[in-house]
Amino acid sequence: MDAIIGIAENKYTRLVLVGLLFLSLQTTIFNEMRPFNVCLQVMLLLAASCGLAKGSSTGAVAGFIVGLLYDFVLTTPLGLCAAVFALVAYLAGYAHSFVHESTWWSRSLVASAASAVGMVVLPIAFTVTGAEGVLTLQIFTAVAVVSLFNAVFSVPVEILCRWALKDPAPVR
């Protein structure tokens, strides 16, 4: 029983639940709403926000989990998005560690830049694993739209990630 409670209180369990919620939003509402014919990537936003919230190491693991959830609904090879999202989360956490006094806009900027890197690396990774016709000029539009969207919504998502990934309080 204690083991079950321990699993339920684990930060990564909370992250998986939040990830499932975001994944359902990704496959429904954000799949339909396509500004400039670009599918907004809230899973990428979640990964970048994890890195911002808890630093590069924890962020990379969290990004990997988020990417793996995304991989399960895509037809691309399993583990590809996981690797890219882990990289994005790591980069977001690592880049943010250099910011002296972080503000909300510096966090947005970092989330935006990390998302842009993810949107460029993702089609390259697809191409490496055998996909064709992925590297097109449409990528630039996708990078611009996704990074702008992720910059706007990075602050509330980061708060959510901070809650999901918080370590359990020490028992006295």
Partner: protein
């Protein structure tokens, strides 16, 4: 600090190795990965359905804001199309029935003889890089990987993943899609435009009516013969003392001239067909047909020529499924055949109900013990 760096490096190494392992397993078609995907789909489906219900008003509001003008224009266009289509539909149904009867009479395969499974599109790929949709029927309906999927307008793609109650359909526009197709080229015709009335007479209040007639130009190597017509009987007198042989079997009997009517089939009027390979190029670009031979018999391909599936023992689709029409012809030098851009007859942006043909080519069918 050193311990932290070591832990970080170890974590990154572990994540990288896990990714490589998973990608390798998936690319090698591991059943473990497919099973995990299937289980995840079963768990995730109710969550997705609930989210869809909750977010429906937001989606509708978004569509109302962004697509209102498009919907109005489309509605107007569809009204015109319905009016036009109602007339053509009656004639088309009769023609299709006749064609199916003829095909059945000659023992040729028809689409009517292939079982199908109707399904509804329940989702599409949330990625920017792959064109797939998900349908709500799967292996329980008899669907298998590779089966062709159609909607009312024509072919939309093929099944790439099958689960118990759902399947993933790769659309024709996906860069990974390829299919053997036929391009039906219309025979060359000459067009004459006749304007009634004298062209010299002019009046400011005269209404000019233009009638376009399209007489077919036919060629034949047999002098005096007109393809598609019944030839008039021509009789020549035999020389004195020469008796006609008994049993007038045909026109090629020695010493005998044409005594019977000959009907020459209208071969020149039949549409010419050439096969090629259809390849998707992504959602924003039309698919292309490659490997069309540059033969003089086939002639120059005109924009608007229909493109249909070729069929065959190894093709995943049966013959004569409508795919679209040629929208652009890119000519190439030398003996290289042209590359044809194809405007698909099915609108892949608004798929709802689709039909999966439970068709497997002979080479894919399991052999009976």
């Amino acid at each position: 600090m050193a311990g932290s760096t070591f832990t970080r490096r170890r974590a990154i190494l572990l994540l990288t190795l896990t990714s490589v392992l998973l990608i390798t397993l998936d690319l090698r078609g591991s059943s473990v990965v497919n099973g995990a995907r299937s289980v995840f789909g079963t768990i995730f489906r109710p969550i997705e359905s609930a989210t869809r219900v909750v977010t429906r008003p937001v989606q509708n509001a978004w569509n109302g804001i962004t697509h209102y003008n498009d919907v109005v224009d489309e509605n107007r266009r569809l009204r015109d199309l319905v009016a036009y289509g109602q007339g053509a539909n009656i004639a088309a149904i009769a023609t299709v029935r006749e064609a199916q009867e003829l095909l059945a009479l000659n023992g040729l395969p028809t689409l009517a003889g292939i079982s199908s499974c109707t399904a509804q599109v329940v989702g599409q790929s949330p990625s920017n890089f792959s064109q797939t949709v998900e349908i709500n029927r799967g292996s329980e309906c008899g669907i298998k990987v590779g089966m062709p999927v159609l909607n009312a307008a024509g072919m939309i793609g093929k099944v790439t993943n099958v689960y118990n109650k759902r399947a993933v359909v790769m659309l024709l526009t996906d860069p990974g899609y390829s299919l053997s197709v036929k391009v039906v080229n219309t025979p060359p015709t000459t067009t004459t435009t006749t304007v009634p009335g004298s062209p010299s007479t002019s009046s400011t209040t005269t209404t000019t009516t233009t009638t376009t007639t399209v007489p077919r130009t036919t060629t034949t190597t047999i002098k005096g013969f007109t393809p598609g017509s019944t030839l008039p009987v021509t009789t020549s007198s035999l020389a004195p003392g020469v008796t006609a042989p008994t049993g007038t079997a045909g026109p090629n009997q020695p010493g005998q001239n044409t005594n019977t009517q000959i009907t020459v089939p209208a071969g020149a009027d039949l549409p010419l067909r050439e096969t090629g390979a259809l390849e998707g190029r992504g959602l924003s670009k039309n698919p292309v047909v490659r490997f069309i031979e540059n033969t003089p018999r086939f002639g120059a391909i005109v924009v608007g020529s229909p493109v249909i599936s070729a069929g065959g023992a190894t093709s995943l689709a049966p013959p004569d499924i409508v795919i679209g029409t040629v929208s652009k012809v890119v000519k190439r030098t030398g003996t290289l055949g042209p590359i044809l851009e194809v405007k698909l007859s099915a609108n892949l942006n608004s798929l709802n109900f689709v039909r999966v043909l439970l068709y497997q080519p002979i080479t894919e069918r399991p052999t009976e013990p």
